[in-house]
Amino acid sequence: MASNPFAHVVTKVCGPPSAADYGADKLLRAVVWGAAAVILLLVTYIVFELGRQAFPAMLSFGPEFLYSTTWDVQAKQFGILPEIWGTLYSSLLALLLGGVLGVAIAIFLTQDFLDHRVSNVFRTIVEMLAAIPSVVYGLWGIYVLIPLIRPGANWLHDSLGWFPFFGTSLSGPGMAPAALVLAVMILPTVAAISVDAFKRVPYKVKEAAYGMGTTRWEAILKVMLPSASSGILAALVLGFGRALGETMALAMLIGNSNQISLSLFAPANTLASLLASSFPEAGPIEVQALMYAALALLAITLLVNVFGLWIMKAATRKFEGR
């Protein structure tokens, strides 16, 4: 009875960490190290597996695969130039439109145009645009967008048909509806990263411009835009990367036709939608060719994304010094 009745409590609260505590600490460190290593292994494994599967096709079709234009399963001739063209062309068109809209929205949200509540409404709208799945955009494109733009597209073709962009009529799916939907889909990405870019410009900079007597738009165009330019460039590059890999909406809207055309109303194809539409029914040799195409898509998107992230890093360093 002489012993301290609180002894067990005291040693429990104030004692040094027990061997078990040290053990748990070591264990946690090992486990989280492993979890972080998983992502390295995953990326390595993805590249290795795609490369391994594509290797037979790379041997048999060689680099010619990348610049020939026929995709004929019977004749075992495979080339993805039309798909590379379609991927780049649709993404560029989408970037042109989605980029302008995205940057405009970023300006709209950050340059004090709006009352706090209204700007929250627009922010929610942009976030919801990002949340709607690709297939739903595809469905909407088929039953709303294509019928909507068809009369205008065909009028453009009839009256300005000599112009290469309007060289064919829009009979259903085609480049224009695909690029429009793609623009809507990359708009949130571009807007969100551009908003961050504008927010990173110190407030002093804008104050200084107003102090010189600029109007609001002179401040935006001559001071804010150049200051945020590297961040906006990153937004555009990452938006472009997003557009390159987008699959379902394009598979539903672009018409999956193996041709190279400048016309906005002609059906075309992209690498991702080639994979989506041909893979499920492909025989063993076509699967190898598709794996080669997947590797090409991986290479293009990785390049664009790494470039975008690199610009973003440089842009962040500009104002935050890290």
Binding site: A24, G34, P133, R216, A272
Partner: protein, 302 residues
């Protein structure tokens, strides 16, 4: 007398002074207004698709929302009625598999990145690769899992679909969880260290409990994104017109809402197209619920 003189001087001064007040309709002011107008127009133009999509979902998809549609099997070509029951279950199961794999790994990796060793080569590389993977085309996740798993198992399966979704969820979970854990005030952690805690104890008793709302925000956003994915399921889970049949059913082709929408959208039958709209409405509602939950949790700040 003095007053009138000074007033006259003042008027002279004013007349000789440059006009400093901007006018609404003078060149620069007018241009500024014009640009503002254009920006409003662009912002409204950008939000039109959202309202159009929502209107169509409610008008076309809302008509068929009832218990039968939500539970019945999908119809075959010339059949009337039918529903999207197996697709709802399939989506839930595959997103569940994806979440069960990606959330633990993602949070543990985030602990390493935010707490244990933020500046090592491993941490920097992992962070960079996670960012690169957020821009990874979702169809390639499907191709990868097809090559790595479907070929080996010789069957399309819910497992393969779930793993493909996990590949896409992992980077989102890692990056948002890392941000959330970094937000936990250093003072709180220092206080715990001051009490003699080990790293593991600080993380388990202070960092994780404090940062968990932010971590959950990222998790919910990843789940919402995965629910809407279709490209990775296209040739991993394929499609099925029946409910998943117990544990063994996970090894067989499985239906999902997004693939049902894709398959039915191109069919020439009104019944299937109506069901595609209904499935879209259900899918968007599921995604919105997760998004709203994420926002509510994300709002809590300490």
């Amino acid at each position: 007398m003095t007053g009138t003189i000074s007033e006259a001087v003042l008027e002279q001064d004013l007349a000789s002074m440059p006009q400093l007040q901007g006018s609404m309709f003078e060149g620069r002011g007018l241009r500024s207004r014009l640009y503002t107008g254009i920006t409003w127009l662009l912002a409204i133009l950008a939000s039109l698709p959202l309202f159009s999509v929502l209107y169509m979902l409610i008008a076309k998809g809302g008509a068929r929302i009832n218990w039968e549609t939500l539970t019945a099997l999908p119809p075959s070509a010339f059949e009337f009625g039918g529903g999207i029951g197996p697709a709802i279950v399939g989506t839930a199961v595959m997103v569940g598999i994806g979440a069960a794999i990606s959330i633990p790994i993602g949070i543990l990796a985030a602990i390493y990145l935010a707490e244990i060793d933020p500046h090592t080569k491993l941490a920097q590389t992992a962070r960079f690769l996670a960012k690169v993977l957020t821009g990874f085309p979702s169809i390639l996740a499907g191709v990868f899992v097809y090559a790595a798993l479907v070929v080996a198992m010789k069957s399309y399966s819910a497992w393969a679909g779930g793993i493909a979704l996990a590949v896409l969820m992992l980077p989102t979970v890692i990056l948002t969880a890392e941000e959330a854990l970094k937000q936990v005030p250093q003072k709180m952690k220092d206080a715990a260290y001051g009490m003699g805690c080990t790293r593991a104890q600080v993380i388990g008793k202070v960092t994780l409990p404090t940062g968990i709302p932010g971590v959950m925000t990222g998790v919910l956003l990843a789940v919402a994104g995965a629910a809407g994915e279709s490209a990775p399921l296209l040739f991993t889970a394929l499609f099925s017109t029946y409910y998943i049949n117990g544990w063994e059913g996970l090894g067989e082709p499985t239906s999902s809402l997004s693939i049902l929408i894709y398959n039915f959208s191109g069919m020439p039958y009104d019944n299937q197209i109506e069901l595609a709209w209904t499935a879209s409405l259900v899918l968007v509602l599921i995604i919105l619920v997760f998004n709203i939950l994420a926002r509510v949790l994300g709002r809590q700040k300490y």
